[in-house]
Amino acid sequence: MSKVKVAFTLNDQEVSLLVQPEERLLDTIRDRLNLTGTKEGCGVGECGACTVMLDGQAVNSCLVLTAQVYGREVRTVEGLGGEEELDKLQQAFIDHQAVQCGFCTPGMLMSARALLDDTGSPTREEIKTALDGNLCRCTGYKQIVEAVEAAAEAEEVD
C-alpha cells in the first residue's frame, strides 16, 4: 500500500508525516509521535481510554484513521497542562483522588475537557453523560464526577 501524507495540528503544534492508509490515530500519536499519555484499552470504542479531542469534540482515537484528520485539530492529554501549570481538571482529579491506577485518566480528562469547553457549568447529569463512554475499574466514578464539578466551579471563578 502506498502511504498517505497527513498534516494536522496536534496540541497547537503543526505536524506532518506519512502514514499507512489503515493507521489509527491512536497508533500515530503513541508510536510515531511518542505522546504516550493516550492509552489503548479495548480498541473498539467501548472503554474511552484512547479519547482525544478532534476539533474540540471527544472522539475515540482507536476508531479514527489518521488520514481522516488531515487539516484538523487534535488535542491529547499532553495538550492540557504541563509540569509547571496543570489544567484545572488535572488539579481537581488530584485533589479529589479521582486517579487510582491512572489508565483511564487521560481519556476521562479529555472527555471532561470537551464538556467544559462546550458547557461552562454542566449539571451532574451532564457530567455523567459526557463520561458515559469512559470506563474506570478502580475509583468508582464518584470522585471523578466530583473532580469535574470542582474544575467547572474553579473555571467559573476565573
Binding site: 470504542g45 474511552g48 471527544a58
Partner: protein
C-alpha cells in the same frame, strides 16, 4: 479562549523519527486533501465520490465516522486494500427543514441529531435515539447514514426512521433512486444497495397531523450498549383524539427492523382513550420474530416488547 488552549508552555511535544523525517516537507504539502492514491480516497465532492464508488465498488471500504467499520475490521485493518473516506464531502452533512419534507444528509452525526433543536422539535424519536446512542465519543463521529448502511437489526435510528416513513436517496454515477426505509433492509447487516451506490440523504415527510410519539431503548446498561430491543411508536391524531395513523416500529426483534402492522391496524381509527394498551402489546409480542442471543432470549424479547408497548400507550393516554 477555550480552557484547553491554555498552558502552551512546558507540555511534552510530539517527537519521533517519523515525524522529524517529514518535518521539512510540511510547507510543500499545503492543506490539500490526500486524494489520488488508490489506497486512500478522500474526495471533496459527491460526484468524485460516486465516480470512485463506480470504479472500485466493494474493493474500497467506505468509511464515515468509522464507529462500525473500524470495529468490524479490528485486528484486520491491514486486510483493507482501499478506503473511500466520505468525511470531506460537505454536501452530505446538510439538514434541510422544508414545509413538506425534512432532508437529512447521510453524514449528519448522531451528536448533531441529538443536539440540533430543529431535530428535537420535528423528529423527537430520532433525536432521542441519537442521544442514547453509544457514548459522546461515538455520537461525535458516528453518522445517520452509517447506522442505516450498516443495517444492523439493532441499529438505534432504524425504528424511528421506519416510524417516520423515511425514504433513503441512493446515488450512483448513473443517477439516483429512492427506497422506502421498510423496503431497504433485507436481513441482518444486509440491504438493497448496489456496490456502485452511496446513501446520500434521508427524506422524511412532514406530518400535517398532531402526533404523539414514544421512543424506548432496552439494554443491559444505558451507555455503549448494543440494544436488546428498541421501539418507536408514533400516533397521528385528529382534533377529537381519534387515531388517524399509527406506526409501531421495533428494532432487534427480527432479522431487520420492522413495523408491526397488526398493532398499527388495531390502533388506527380508534379513539386514543378507547384503545386497549394490553391488546396492542400482545399483538406486538406476537408479530415480532426475535432470536435468543447474548442480549436476550426469545421469551424475554416478547415479554419486554409487550411491556414497553403497553407502557408507551398508557403514557400517551394519560397525556
Amino acid at each position: 479562549m477555550k480552557n484547553s488552549q491554555r498552558n502552551v508552555s512546558s507540555r511534552p511535544k510530539a517527537s519521533g523519527s517519523d515525524f522529524e523525517a517529514e518535518k521539512e516537507n510540511t510547507q510543500e504539502l499545503g492543506r490539500e486533501v490526500p486524494v489520488g492514491s488508490a489506497d486512500y480516497l478522500a474526495p471533496e465532492t459527491l460526484n468524485k465520490a460516486l465516480e470512485y464508488r463506480s470504479r472500485y465498488g466493494y474493493k474500497a471500504v467506505v468509511i464515515a465516522g468509522g464507529t462500525d467499520v473500524m470495529v468490524d475490521y479490528f485486528e484486520g485493518l491491514t486486510e483493507v486494500s482501499s478506503w473511500l473516506d466520505l468525511t470531506k464531502i460537505a454536501a452530505l452533512k446538510e439538514m434541510k427543514f422544508g414545509p413538506e419534507e425534512i432532508r437529512l444528509g447521510s453524514m449528519v452525526t448522531h451528536l448533531k441529531l441529538a443536539t440540533d433543536p430543529r431535530v428535537g422539535e420535528n423528529l423527537p424519536l430520532l433525536a432521542e435515539a441519537a442521544s442514547e446512542m453509544g457514548s459522546w465519543q461515538i455520537q461525535s463521529r458516528g453518522t445517520l447514514g452509517g447506522n442505516i448502511v450498516t443495517s444492523s437489526p439493532a441499529g438505534d435510528t432504524l425504528a424511528p426512521l421506519l416510524a417516520y416513513q423515511a425514504r433513503f436517496v441512493l446515488g450512483s454515477v448513473s443517477g439516483q433512486r429512492e427506497v422506502a426505509a421498510e423496503d431497504f433492509f433485507t436481513g441482518p447487516k444486509e440491504n438493497v444497495m448496489n456496490q456502485d451506490e452511496l446513501l446520500l440523504e434521508v427524506m422524511i415527510p412532514v406530518s400535517r397531523e398532531r402526533t404523539l410519539s414514544r421512543w424506548k431503548k432496552v439494554g443491559k446498561r444505558k451507555a455503549v450498549i448494543i440494544s436488546s430491543l428498541t421501539m418507536a411508536l408514533l400516533l397521528e391524531l385528529d382534533e377529537k383524539d381519534v387515531i388517524t395513523g399509527a406506526r409501531a416500529a421495533y428494532g432487534a426483534v427480527a432479522p431487520t427492523p420492522l413495523r408491526a402492522e397488526e398493532v398499527e391496524n388495531y390502533l388506527a381509527g380508534k379513539s386514543l382513550s378507547e384503545v386497549s394498551a394490553e391488546r396492542a402489546g400482545e399483538l406486538a409480542a406476537r408479530e415480532i420474530s426475535p432470536i435468543t442471543d447474548i442480549r436476550g432470549t426469545v421469551a424475554y424479547r416478547r415479554q419486554v416488547t409487550r411491556d414497553i408497548t403497553v407502557e408507551a400507550l398508557l403514557d400517551m393516554q394519560q397525556g
